[in-house]
Symmetry: C2
Subunit: 369 residues, 2 copies
């Protein structure tokens, strides 16, 4: 997608020096657009943990490039030990996102057929680039599928805007390009369908306010920032036509882990007869898991993310402010699980399906076992 | 309730000079505890609008004292015109809270029987004090009723903590004393029942983080601050035994207007079989309205409350930071309506009832008409 008119992905190999991975520094957005260099697997682990890079697809692509960087660092003697440690370190950075382990395993598989360290480095480079390219392509394709859902709503209210509510950032910033939840929105906007997006702020890290609002603004998609609390009220008053979110992991039976609070929006959508749509590249499916509430690991992050808020001061500095008493304890779970019964449709690059095992496996017959 | 060991109400007449109303300045909490003087009805309108004072019961009590201050300002000639204007100005400050219009009408009724301006000033003073005293007494009594609900849960899990989730601040800071949602919690805590409160941050104005966390901390009630997004996840995992909130207006049939986001928690409570309890003094009922979603006016406040967050910096200054891009538009509805079908019980000073017209009118037979 374009930033100030210039096309970007969220992660790429430096053109002149392929020992350097470059990423958009998402900790600086929306107040500054900066590119960060990632020089080692340890750097990449930090970037994933501290959310310099974040979002289901981008975490996977980052893990791919992290494994590639590891292959450049690994000694000739002990190459495989070094890579196994790198894999473990990367997997430990964020527990919920399915794409992370998926990408690490794919990288291990790719280098396993290498004959020499040099060969394996080349294989790692190719695999990391392929993961990123596929992520972008899958998001593009799921956007085309999702466009049909938005077009169908637009047809039912000619001349009126299609109002879409989204939670967190499942935009192109969360992937390599296009995004998952945003891909159908961008496709609809580019096709001339009038769309307007209600952007959930998404406490505690405000990815909606800082990232989704920013990228929709860059692309010129009309949008309005709201508190996470507001979505139910909007739905009760006919101001939402569709909820669309991304996801960090979808189980075999269609349970959806996504940013904390998604479950509440899914409940409100159901209560008001509004479609609750979840968009994902196939790399986000975890076919090994059934009941998502019981089995998907939910990351708990630091209390300081709840107790403090960062933003731009009136002097254009960045400041962090404390919003509660000094002694107030806080807890901070990063995700919740929306049961499949509340999900109207899943959109992936292979098409659209209902959120149940039979429908999912009809799109992914190789997972039937 | 006590602050640093000294008992306070949220509003009172200055002991030495009864032309001065004093209030706890809630814009300064939790980082400073300051008392503000309110000297005129115009002052009081500002204090209600800018939320120096806020919360269903306290808005009512403030309107009462505002009318009293107006009676001190009103000229001998044109006394009633002045009072009618004061009534209109006060009613216009916040559209959703039922207590506001209720208190203003009660004040007008009280002074209507006066024979001279001096007599009417005395009647206004007495009525304002009575409204405040009754608010405190009603909260105390509903706390005793609500205590029984908490005690019943405690009996089913002996030796374990009763986990209660609340949204916004319906604490003693929102009333004259004791609070509505918090009154049963304080009563249970004081009775030795182990309770723990999940405190919703309550964006955009963070009344949970800044007020509820503060007052629970002052009283020593164990509590944990969470993002508004977290409650559904907690309920899915058995970590909430009861949701209890206050309300700004309850219709004849039991629909509940409360801080935006309450509806989402009520949906999650229903989905997880958890009681959703709403506590209110009878002054918060609006027996003239039926369907709350269609009829309760919902205040829309400024976008800046969504776009900016205030808090304490590391240097102990207070700073306001912008959390979205410079050009991002925002909308900010203050309340939503939880349909009666999602409300398990209403608690008021007369007792506990189901949220339907027959049950409510059984407690308030004079409203049967």
């Amino acid at each position: 997608m374009k930033v100030n008119g210039k096309p970007y992905r969220t992660i790429w190999l430096n053109e002149g020096n392929d020992r350097v991975v470059q990423v958009i520094d998402q900790l600086k957005l929306p107040h500054a657009f900066e590119i960060a260099d990632v020089l080692s697997v340890a750097d990449m682990c930090r970037a994933i943990s501290n959310m310099t890079v974040r979002g289901a697809g981008l975490i996977g692509a980052s893990a791919g490039f992290g494994m590639y960087l590891a292959s450049r660092e690994a000694p000739e003697q002990g190459f495989h030990d070094f890579m196994r440690q790198a894999a473990a370190d990367l997997k430990a950075t964020r527990p919920t996102a399915a794409n992370l382990a998926w990408a690490v395993e794919r990288m291990l598989g790719a280098i396993a057929v290498g004959t020499t360290p040099a060969h394996m480095r080349q294989l790692a480079r190719d695999a990391a680039v392929a993961i990123a390219d596929e992520d972008a392509e899958h998001c593009w394709r799921l956007g085309e599928h999702g466009l049909a859902l938005i077009a169908a709503i637009a047809q039912r209210k000619p001349g009126q805007c299609v109002n879409i509510l989204t939670h967190c950032n499942a935009g192109w910033l969360a992937f390599v390009d296009f995004g998952s939840a945003t891909a159908p929105i961008y496709a609809a906007h580019d096709a001339g369908i009038p769309v307007h997006v209600w952007v959930d702020e998404t406490r505690p890290r405000n990815q909606g306010a800082s990232l989704t609002a920013w990228e929709l603004g860059q692309h010129g998609v009309p949008h309005t920032l709201i508190a996470d609390n507001a979505g139910g009220h909007l739905m009760q008053h006919g101001l939402v036509d569709m909820v669309i979110t991304g996801t960090d992991r979808v189980t075999r039976n269609g349970d959806v882990a996504n940013k904390i609070g998604t479950y509440l929006k899914a409940l409100a959508a159901r209560d008001n007869g509004i479609p609750m749509v979840v968009a994902l590249p196939s790399s986000t499916f975890d076919f090994t898991l059934g009941d998502g509430i019981a089995s998907i690991p939910i990351e708990e992050r630091g209390a300081e993310e709840v107790r403090f808020v960062s933003g731009k001061t009136s002097h254009s500095g960045i400041e962090t402010v404390q919003i509660c008493p000094d002694t107030t304890p806080a807890r901070n779970w990063g995700f919740d699980v929306t049961p499949a019964r509340l999900v109207t449709k899943l959109i992936c690059e292979r098409g659209i399906c209902d959120a149940n095992e039979a429908a999912i496996l009809a799109l992914f017959p190789q997972e039937r076992e």
